[in-house]
Amino acid sequence: MSFPPSASGADAVPATAGGARAVLDAARAELRADTLRGAGGRAALERYSDRVDALLRQIYAAAGEPPSPVAVLALGGYGRRHLCLYSDIDLLILFSRSIYPAEERFLRGLLHPLWDLGVVVGHQVRELDDFRTLETDNPEFLLALLDARPVAGARELFDRFNDVFHTAATHAFILRSLLQLIDERHGKFNSTLYQLEPDVKEAPGALRDLSATRVIALLTDPLLLRRGPADPARFDDAEDFLLRVRSTLHLEGARNQNVLSHEQQERAAEMLVYPGAEPRIRVERLMSDYFRHARIVSRSLEWARKTAPVPVGPNLGLSRDGIRFLDPVQAARNPPAWLAAFQAAIDHQTDVAEETLSCIQQHVDRYRADDFFPQPADRAAVLQLLKPRPGLYDRLSEMHDCGLLGRVFPEFQAISWRVVRDFYHKYTVDEHTLLAIRNLERLGTTEDSSRQRFRSILTGLPAPELLVLALLLHDVGKWRDDDHALESVRMAEQVVARLQLSPEQRDIVLFLIRDHLKMSLVAFRRDTEDPDVVAQFARAIGTEERLKLLCLMTLVDVEAVSPETLTSWKEELLWRLYVDAYNHLTQRYGDELIERNQAGLDELLASPPADLTAAEITAFLEGLPQRYLQLFTRDAIHRHVRLARDIKSDEIHISLEPNEGVWTLAVVTLDKPFLFSNICGVLASFGMNILRGHALTNPNGLVLDVFQFTDDERFLALNADAQKQVRRVLEDVVSGRSEVTARLRGREQGVLKTASRFAPVVRADNEASGRYTIVDIVASNALGLLYRISRVISQHGCEVDLVLIATEGEKAIDVFHITKAGVKLTQAEQQALTSDLQRTLEGTA
């Protein structure tokens, strides 16, 4: 925007200075006259504020075209249009962009004329972007901003300011600060309103308390004062009275003075036309009025402080009866906020207020499922809500009762009050479903000693919300009378699509629903002493993660059938199947290798991507454990095949990809001693915390290691060429050009040596697998743990063929499949290895 220097503020002012002076004088004369009549209250002050607005607009216009959009905002008392005769004129001059010399010239053009007029201007100058960070060191300013009112300039800039400034976090901060400021201020007055010479602005019960009460309502519940101890009209009267008194003080003192001293009380009583033969009587009447009004203000403030909902999210407050919408009209138009209300109730361990439930019930029919989670963040919020935590069942029940659950999940509506008669179920299908979720929620905190084994499975789950989602939908197919599991899957597919779950999440949820009866069938009706039965069951489940989920699902589902259904006898059967299947999945999978013509391969080999042939894929897969096919998606398998292409000795091919804070590293190379420990050592040297992983080796010595880890030191996030560096270091270490021990030296003293927080478990077993000695290790998770374990194994001359890596919270659970010179370890070798490992893990090695 061009800015002709001739129109700059400094030049323009003299032309209007006389006019401005006249406008200000006239406005003041009018307020003086009002005050002298005892009418310097709200109406008069609003009139005066309007005249000052006009004056400012005049000066703004005279200051010329600003170089970039600017808004002049009235703050504090002036923003509320309660400007008194000698009050400071508090302004915010808000620029839309950085302040350059042109802006500064404009600013001078605006402020100099005001100074010339002799008014006291309290001005703040900010750029819009300044409000993106909260000025926590200036709570008074933030409070004044709540009253911001556009006086001149770009209205659109004011709207943008509102968008940036008014956030839940800011409101919460201001509220906290305000409560503190009130306490400090009251402290100065010995916390009593009964002052003989009260300050009508600052004293308890005076004007500041009055606006504080309004601010508390504004920030928490705009309708709060309607339910307060005083009629809102009396509250308004108090304000008018206090302002009328303040006006007399300004007039008499000819300055910004607010103490109603004994002397001033006589003058004020006179101006406010109190009857009485003597000044003493008039003063008494004035002061009795003062205390009456101050008391109303004081009580309202105390009541507001006690009753106001605490802001806990956008348009959400925590009040005594639970979570409420602060503005129900706005909430009615914003269905994602409804789910937020239930989340807030869970977070704060409270209910959703009855009033809020009614509001939802009243409007719920206007919305369709998609309206509740239009954005990715809203969809993530749905999953977050489903995390099993105390209160989840109660909230879901409330959601169901007010019709929300059936709107968010119309599939669930189909089983509302559904009665299916059989010999076992005692509740309607919907309630059975919700009870199953309640059982899971309770399992998370149960102290029942017999349940701790199941509880620890739950605690270790990375995404228990998927289990809850599966539970919610597992019986929706019961709206029909035939095979309900398949119908439930069909219906769940719609939910999964609406929530846009990732392929992995989708697979888990649909698997759980499809197979939700499988584990109880095998545990209670099959001969689980037969290893083939267990093996077949384990193969059908595929991975430990699924097994854990299905085990818990079975437990809570059976428990929700009736109070008598889940006996400790059944729990025992379920647990034993879990353990047997878990052992099968972690210890025996090395015996089941992928063979050419294997069932299931056809599907994978059909229509491979353009750059891969079926032969190449088969060659890669052959000899890997069958489990591999269940662990990885088609795309991941194709990626691994590409990595394996043309791999030569000492070469290392990697792919490294982030996904929601977790990185996946796939490494393909050819086997050699210390390989696994070297790779783990490199990851530890970059501070990476390995969460899960698999090391696989095929009979030709091709190694595929896949690690999922968090980049705790943000090395990958902060360094542009980080991936290249990781690749280079891996290559150097694997080819023997550099030593991983040297890289780790700095860390050896610190984390690597940290002793285990609980007694580590090391156990070697020659029975479980036909080909391998299995070493099970459970230890405190620590940086470099895998490196240390696998190094000891390699130092014992063992080959690390397969490794399963898992973490559950603080606990690392690793299963190594090892051999020595191609065969299982002897008893003595096992003994020597496990003792060494034990010492290493105890930090005594």
């Binding site: 001969d527 006996t567 025992e572 353990v579 878990y582 099970d776 459970v778």
Partner: protein, 109 residues
Amino acid sequence: MKMIKAIIRPNKVDEVKDALSALNIAGMTVTEVRGHGKQKGHTAIYRGKEYNVSLLPKMEIEVVVPDVLADDAIKAIVTAARTGEIGDGRVFVMPVLESHRIRTGEKEA
């Protein structure tokens, strides 16, 4: 009359029930029980730690049959519940002195 009490594998209940039905023996009591015989349970290992499962979940089936049917019933149970492995269970047979139908007060000797 004889009371036959069979301790069997949980997964064999349906087969035993079917076998008894085939002999027109319909009334029975089925209880979830735990115990061990010669099998004495075994040690299971979970994540490297041993835990004892000395009391194994079993099912107990009780039927009362006329003397003439007792041998067939025992044979039916044994056949249906057998896997040939340790832990298949036991069948106990006891004499029953009399039985009273509560609804009618009718006595059967």
